[in-house]
């Protein structure tokens, strides 16, 4: 796990559900096949309604047409990020698009768990609401171990919550590696 993650912010609102993150019509792609897996990047966030795509402007595409990667690396969300369907394709799609961490006020549990156990991205929680304080495109620096976020565009610093119990799984890179490291799996 890198201790500092930097990149451009893509800002969303509350209750971003997994149907918005990766719509059902793309779930026929099989993530176990590399040629198909990359399409999850192409269609990531494609069902976020117009007006809410990249706040505050709301009309910024997450991934440009016909591209597999996003120009953004860090997603900022509000409450209940990743609610709804349990599809692991959601954190996978964000990771395929190049997202390394999400910072939200709090998460729906299955999204959080999938992000951690699958080792796709680091789901962090902010101590205050960031949606109105950070703009899409701002340059961010996330200090994982020191638990803060620096907005290099505005110069503001925001505190993050400790990862707690799941830190060892994130550090190991997912539940399989964790289970191997702790001797549960051979």
């Amino acid at each position: 796990m890198e201790s500092v993650i930097s990149g451009k912010a893509y800002v969303l609102g509350d209750n971003i559900d997994t149907d918005q993150i990766i719509p059902a019509q793309y779930l026929a792609f099989n993530p176990a096949i590399a040629e198909e897996r990359k399409y999850f990047g192409m269609y990531a966030m494609s069902s976020v309604p117009e007006g809410q795509r990249g706040l505050p402007a709301g009309n910024i595409p997450f991934v440009e047409l016909n591209q597999f990667k996003s120009q953004f690396q860090i997603v900022i969300g509000g409450k209940n990020f990743g609610c709804g369907s349990s599809r692991e394709h959601a954190p996978l799609a964000l990771a395929e698009a190049g997202i390394t961490c999400v910072i939200a006020e709090f998460y729906a549990r299955i999204f959080f768990r999938n992000s951690v156990n699958g080792g796709y991205l680091v789901p962090l929680e902010s101590t205050t609401r960031l949606v109105e304080q950070i703009r899409t495109g701002d340059e961010l620096e996330v200090h994982l171990l020191d638990q803060y976020l620096l907005n290099k565009t505005t110069g503001k610093r925001h505190e993050l919550r400790p990862l707690g119990d799941v830190l060892p799984i994130i550090e190991a890179g997912g539940v399989f590696n964790y289970a191997k490291e702790t001797g549960m799996l051979k």
Binding site: N15, D17, D19, Q20, P23, A24, Q25, L27, A28, F29, N30, P31, A32, I33, E36, S47, V48, P49, E50, K79, N80, C83, G84, S85, S86, R87, E88, H89, F106, Y107, A108, R109, I110, R113, N114, N117, G118, G119, D165, G174, V175, F176, A179, M184, L185
Partner: protein
């Protein structure tokens, strides 16, 4: 030591501990692992990658595979995904697989089963699991689908997981769980004729919000819940996830025992109950006689209102189906309102399982076997002008563009399903109102959202529908 809840007891026992407390992480043994055609292929991919191409699942009798999401589509990848499941079932020698045997290795839309009693195919996994005897009180069920929580209606711990967790459990039979605190929702009185469990759960979610039960157990208690059929209790626990719940549970009673004994071939399981001094993080009580028919307005299941308040809303479509609202009791509720009338808007009906479909042909409007020339539920619905599709998830989650009932434009739809997120049933331009099968059927007759109290006065009998 403080008392424990049902969920705490189940997790403690499966973790080899005397007691657990909310917040604790425990590694537990899984009793049943379910997957389907959308998450199965990814799960199988991770299983092969991590445990090896020759690896065997931890216990072939505890894995249940139910293809249900993308069956009736010409999309080739969807057919390919079913083939991946078939290959895995053969490779592992799995017993419990419900094959859409009419999906052949050829391009185009598959021809659905003709006779729902003559196919191995079931339809929606959460309906198939109890029907085929895979849910039992006191057990732990994991499924690669967020509505796996449905099975909590039978007094077990059931929750949705992702592909990685499922692959891990496939290889080891284990998973780690954080013990959730329990929220208790008590319903007093008996369910009146114009309400179904859907109204209750929409009221609950409207009260606590779509994140109100995040990381928590939702326990539905009281004589109001005992008065519900098992099928209707499943509507409650099904939608626990819509409040962010980790799982939902109902108490085990005679109805539960009768259902499970009839369906399951596993002789031993242990019923757990909440201790009288069990601790709850939240409690709320309702009186069923003062509750009203509810809707959730676009685009969130907690955007609650009464059906009455929404009576000006004009509709383009009605939809009866899914694991929430495609059970036989839902069909009986809808048919009793539609009987002898004509729908004013396009009305799609999708049975939750082939058993539901067969029962729609076998049973009358009271849920009893049809006698003489009594009309079947299916006939009543078709006579009223409904379009009937084969069992499965269909338009509940949108799916490929050729999916039956999918909202491809800016339609306004009233639906018995569980989610009305932007684009959930198809186009992001569409709007979905969630409601009970009674409200959906009444609204289909008028083309506007309609309070079912205008149509029902006497209680609708459902007999032993769904149970036997």
């Amino acid at each position: 030591m403080a008392g424990m809840t049902m969920t705490e007891k189940i997790l403690a026992r499966h973790g080899g501990k005397k007691s657990v407390a909310p917040g604790e992480n425990v590694w537990v043994d899984v009793d049943v692992l379910m997957t389907h055609d959308v998450c199965g292929p990814g799960t199988i991919g991770i299983f092969h990658e991590k445990f090896g191409r020759q690896a065997k699942v931890w216990n072939g009798d505890k894995v249940v595979i139910v293809p249900d999401h993308y069956i009736f589509t010409a999309d080739e990848k969807c057919h390919r995904n079913i083939q991946i499941l078939r290959d895995f079932v053969r490779e592992q020698g799995l017993k419990y697989y419900y094959d859409p045997d009419f999906v052949k290795n050829e391009p185009g839309m598959p021809n659905p089963y003709k006779d729902p009693t003559k196919t191995n195919y079931k339809g929606v996994c959460h309906k198939a699991l109890p029907e085929e005897g895979h849910v039992r009180p006191g057990e732990i069920l994991l499924g690669t689908d967020s509505h796996t929580c449905t099975a909590g209606a039978f007094g077990q711990f059931a929750t949705g997981v992702g592909n990685t967790d499922a692959a891990f459990a496939l290889g080891t039979g284990k998973t780690w769980l954080k013990v959730p605190p329990t929220m208790k929702f008590t319903f007093h009185g008996r369910i009146p004729a114009y309400l179904t469990a859907k109204d209750l759960i929409l009221a609950v979610i409207g009260e606590i919000g779509v994140d109100g039960a995040t990381y928590r157990t939702m326990y539905f208690a009281g004589e109001g819940i005992s008065s519900l059929t098992l099928e209707d209790r499943m509507t409650l626990t099904n939608m626990a996830i819509e409040a962010g719940g980790k799982n939902g549970v109902c108490d085990v009673d005679e109805k539960t025992l009768q259902y499970v004994r009839q369906r399951s071939n596993v002789p031993h399981w242990q019923v757990e109950r909440d201790d009288s001094d069990a601790r709850y993080i939240y409690e709320h009580e309702w009186n069923l006689d003062t509750m009203e028919p509810m809707v959730a307005k676009p685009h969130s299941p907690d955007n609650k209102d009464t059906a009455h308040n929404c009576r000006q809303v004009k509709l383009d479509r009605a939809y009866v189906g899914s694991c929430t609202g495609g059970k036989i009791t839902d069909m009986i509720f809808a048919a009793n309102i539609l009987k002898g009338n004509q729908v004013k808007i396009e009305t799609y009906v999708v049975p939750g399982s082939t058993e539901v479909h067969a029962d729609m042909r076998r049973l009358n409007l009271k849920g009893m076997p049809r006698q003489g020339n009594e009309k079947s539920i299916e006939e009543v619905l078709l006579d009223a002008g409904c379009k009937l599709g084969p069992s499965g998830c269909a338009a509940c989650l949108g799916g490929p563009s050729d999916t039956f009932g999918r909202l491809n434009n800016a339609e306004v739809c009233i639906s018995t399903t569980n989610r009305n997120f932007p684009g959930r049933m198809g186009s992001t331009k569409s709007s979905v109102y969630l409601a009970s099968p009674l409200t959906v059927a009444a609204s289909a007759l008028t083309g506007r959202i309609t309070d079912p109290r205008d149509y029902v006065s006497d209680p609708i009998q459902t007999g032993m529908a769904g149970v036997v």
